[in-house]
């Protein structure tokens, strides 16, 4: 049987100052990693929650984003009549949309941030099943009225209900706030397609078409026929895959965060190592005594390794607690795809916390291994004579 864990726990309590300082160092490292992971997780959730698997986004061939795409009304008329598109009554479920960016001062950037403005038809609103009005009403056709996503309402002081936004050829009244669940729609502003395209002199230079397929089996066939039709010159893909591809916006941030965390982890591992070396030196007599009582070298090694793991585990838990207040806090990140800000919530999920604690335990194992090995290798008499 191994040396009791209570021995390690009580030693950590006895050396409480050292324990707290070392655990805090590990906690901060874990907190940095978790903050980055929570951010990326939130961003991923926002994109993965966007789009309907039955819906197909059609852009100009070669376009990588709606912003750089151009679709004419003529193409839209051709698309509407294609087989496999769902209908509501006589009306095909197809939405012609125009996407552009406008500049609004935000809480983070008073000089202004790019925000996605989407000109849309009533059918486009209907096709977004998860979209609902949180406050106010929908915009009216032919009016300079907009409905803002809930993240926009929260992060842009000028975009509150009843306020007027200046873009295009005049002032636009915010008449409603929409809630798209956790999707990217929350970071967009919706207005009447014809009014917006007119204000931006893009009456026939629109951005994309959203189509709904009759069923899941029709989706690939419809995509293939759209992509194969040279006359149309369009690129079709599922709405879901379009948004999922945008998750890459957070990749650079993720790499940077993980890189910083690894650098910090090296420092924290050395701190844990230093603490454990000091513990081994201070408790040399105890190590000698345990050996005389019959505990093997392996028992001694495991005991000190366990102590290091307990110390780092404590740091990991504290790191999780430190980052917990970030959960659900709204933040924004500039997307290289839409050239606008995408707002989303930090998501500190249980899976992320497990990663944090595991990361801390790895730091503890790395930091504790050599001191534990040194403790186990001490000759009994040498250990007993050390003070």
């Amino acid at each position: 049987m191994a040396i009791p864990v209570s021995y390690n726990l009580r030693n950590l309590v006895v050396r409480k100052t050292t324990t707290v300082i070392t655990a805090l160092g590990i906690a901060l490292t874990v907190a940095v990693l978790l903050a980055v992971l929570a951010l990326v997780n939130g961003l991923r959730t926002a994109f993965q929650s966007s789009g309907d698997p039955l819906q197909i986004l059609v852009m100009r061939k070669g376009a990588t984003a709606e912003l750089s795409s151009a679709v004419t009304r003529e193409v839209f008329q051709d698309l509407k009549s294609m087989a496999g598109i769902a209908r509501e009554g006589d009306e095909p479920r197809a939405s012609l949309e125009m996407v552009t960016v406008i500049n609004l001062p935000s809480v983070d950037s008073p000089t202004g941030m790019n925000v996605t403005l989407r000109g849309i038809l009533p059918v486009g609103v209907k096709m977004r099943d998860d979209l609902k009005l949180q406050d106010g009403r929908w915009f009216q056709a032919g009016q300079r009225e907009v409905v803002v996503g809930k993240s926009i309402a929260k992060r842009y002081p000028g975009a509150h209900m009843g306020n007027k936004l200046r873009f295009g050829r005049g002032e636009w009244e915010v008449v409603g706030v929409m809630d798209g669940g956790q999707s990217a729609v929350n970071s967009e502003i919706f207005g009447d397609l014809n009014q917006i395209s007119s204000d931006f002199n893009r009456a026939d230079g629109l951005s994309s078409v959203l189509l709904r397929a009759t069923d899941a089996a029709t989706v690939p066939a419809l995509i293939n026929s759209l992509n194969d039709d040279r006359r149309l010159g369009v690129l079709a893909q599922t709405e879901k895959s379009y948004y999922e591809a945008q998750t890459n916006s957070g990749a650079l941030l993720q790499y940077l965060g993980v890189f910083i965390s690894i650098i910090m982890a090296v420092g924290s591992s050395f701190a844990a190592m230093n603490t454990m070396y000091a513990a081994v030196a201070r408790r040399a007599t105890e190590i000698g005594t345990l050996r005389v009582l019959g505990f093997s070298k392996n028992s001694i090694m495991l005991s000190f390794l366990m102590e290091s793991l307990l110390l780092s585990g404590l740091g990991g838990l504290v790191g999780c607690l430190l980052v917990l207040p970030l959960n659900n806090i709204t933040t924004g990140i500039g997307s290289f795809v839409t050239f606008s800000e995408i707002a989303f919530n930090f998501r500190v999920s249980p899976e992320i916390m497990v990663i944090g604690v595991t990361f801390a335990l790895v730091m503890g194992a790395v930091g504790g291994l050599f001191p534990a090995r040194m403790a186990a290798r001490k000759e009994i008499l040498v250990a007993l004579r050390e003070i």
């Binding site: 049987m1 021995y7 005389v292 093997s296 070298k297």
Partner: protein
């Protein structure tokens, strides 16, 4: 004829210290039988503690033979020695060497962790050992809450809790006042007389040696013939 518990032949221990070759033990032949209480005496540096450490397999001899409880310690692996020590040896240190963060009863229970006993049985054994040394009312005290004498009695309880064949004590009264030393020596003597424990005690205190059934003297690494004391041996003043 009593069973031989310890037997050494031509036992040697040499080591290098600060580039000097030191002979700690030279051709030591000693036989100790079951039930004996032997005091190993001699001045500092005479090799008495070295001999005790070799008997406890805490160190390896440079030459000669050492048989303890019929086991040739030179042939055992580190792991086997650890197991053997736990099963057969109880060791009492001069500085008590209790684990400071564990209570008296937890300290005594510690060697039993290496046995197959269940927690309840371990605690029963530990409590019995503590009662035997007269500390039944101090079970949950930490070492720092005990006097030196009490600490040493806890250490003796820890040494006997596994019911070892051999108790080895290295200057067990060296850090104690006269009264506490008397209590500890009386306890060791009782363990020898009432429970038949074989005890080897290193001491330089002739008063302590009086509690033993036999005294053997070492001088400059050599074991003197039985009954012989070093030429310049002076009786240290009693505390």
């Amino acid at each position: 004829m009593a069973e031989t518990v310890i037997q050494t032949k031509q036992l040697q221990k040499e080591f290098i210290r600060d580039e000097f070759h030191v002979v700690a033990l030279k051709d030591v032949d000693i036989t100790i039988s079951r039930g004996e209480f032997v005091a190993l005496m001699g001045p500092s540096g005479s090799g008495k503690s070295t001999l005790l450490h070799l008997i406890a397999a805490m160190d390896r001899p440079s030459g000669g033979e050492i048989l303890v409880l019929g086991e040739n310690l030179r042939t055992l692996s580190d792991r086997a020695i650890a197991h053997w020590r736990n099963a057969h040896i109880g060791f009492v240190f001069q500085s008590f060497n209790l684990i400071p963060v564990l209570s008296a009863v937890e300290n005594v229970e510690l060697p039993l962790k290496l046995t197959n006993l269940k927690k309840k049985e371990r605690m029963e054994h530990a409590e019995t050992a503590l009662n035997l040394v007269g500390l039944g009312d101090r079970m949950h005290h930490l070492p720092r809450q005990l006097s030196g004498g009490q600490e040493q009695r806890v250490a003796i309880a820890r040494a006997i809790v596994t019911d070892p064949d051999l108790i080895l004590a290295d200057e067990p009264t060296g850090n104690l006042d006269a009264t506490s030393a008397q209590d500890v020596l009386t306890l060791l003597s009782r363990l020898n007389k009432e429970f038949g424990k074989t005890i080897v005690m290193v001491t330089h205190d002739p008063h302590a040696a009086h509690f033993a059934t036999k005294s053997r003297h070492l001088e400059k690494g050599e074991l003197l013939p039985e009954g012989q004391v070093p030429v310049d041996w002076t009786v240290p003043a009693k505390a």
